[in-house]
Structures are given as structure tokens and as C-alpha cells.
Symmetry: C2
Subunit: 95 residues, 2 copies
């Protein structure tokens, strides 16, 4: 890969390198949730969740769909969840 390509891949991984964001992804991995739903699921503040969702959406990791005054966020690519599981089993395997 060229440097710009590596840069993009790194930026993608960086988004997955924050526990709060993984928590958010875990909350929406089954089905899309509203921001307040995610707030409730994660226990984080609304502002913090909203900020993380903006980053995740900008990175193309989550989808965003307005429904009235609510906004539903969902997983864009099932591969992301798979990757988290892969890393998890990889970690538990090596102790």
C-alpha cells in the first residue's frame, strides 16, 4: 500500500481504538438505535455520544438516518463487528 492508503487504513483503525466507540458499536450492532437509545445503552453523556457518532459516521463506519426529530445510527458494514470479534478471540487465545 502507498502512504496515503496506509494513512486511510490507520485512520479507520484509530476510530476502532477507543473503548467508548466500541461500546457504541456494540450497542448498535444488532439493530440501529437513536442517539438517546445509545446514550442509555452506554451510560455516556449525550454530547459525548453525539461527538463519537459524528466521527464514526465521518469514517464511514456507521450509517445515519433521520426519522423525525430522532436520528438512527446503525452499522454500515458487518465486517466491522467481525473484526472486533476476531481481535477479541485473538486476545483471549494468547492470554
Amino acid at each position: 500500500m502507498t502512504d496515503p492508503e496506509l494513512e486511510r487504513v490507520a485512520r479507520h483503525f484509530k476510530q476502532l481504538g477507543e473503548m467508548m466507540r466500541l461500546k457504541i458499536l456494540q450497542a448498535i450492532c444488532k439493530k440501529p438505535l437513536t442517539v438517546s437509545g445509545i446514550v442509555e445503552a452506554t451510560g455516556a453523556t449525550q454530547a459525548n455520544v453525539s461527538k463519537h457518532l459524528s466521527l464514526l459516521a465521518a469514517a464511514g463506519i456507521v450509517t445515519r438516518e433521520k426519522a423525525g426529530q430522532r436520528v438512527y445510527y446503525g452499522m454500515k458494514d458487518p465486517l466491522t463487528v467481525k473484526m472486533c470479534e476476531l481481535v477479541y478471540t485473538q486476545l483471549t487465545k494468547s492470554g
Copy 2:
């Protein structure tokens, strides 16, 4: 996953979320290289490469093997390279 588990997964992804480290991984993904070999391959300074390698080793992403005064670093798990490729195709797919 529990919070501590998510924390570990996040920490792992965070290591992959830096271009310089991806560059290093790309350099050693075929076969292990010495630190100076990686320095040459990446163009980074020796101190910087060494620091990143310490982090990667601590995260269990690379292997470390001394051979005389040289130290060979290699990929610990081929899955890591697969993941990078997955993200790359995922990104190029979505533009």
C-alpha cells in the same frame, strides 16, 4: 463483551491506528526484519522505530527475537495483515 474486554480490544485497534506502525507491519509482514532493516524500509529514525516496536510487541502484535546484537521483529499473527487488507478493500469499495 464486558468493559475490560472492550478496553483490551480498543487498545489493540489503537496500535493499528497509526500510519507509522502500519508501515512497520507492512515492512515485516513477509519475513522478520532487524530494527535497522525496518528503519531502512520505513525511512523513520531508529529511535522512533524502536519505540513503535516496543508498543507493538507489548500489544502482542509482533514477535521479538534476539540474534547477537540484532533483534528481529516479525508478525505474530497473520490475522493482523488480513485485517489491514480487509479494511483497505472496505475503504476502496466505498470510495
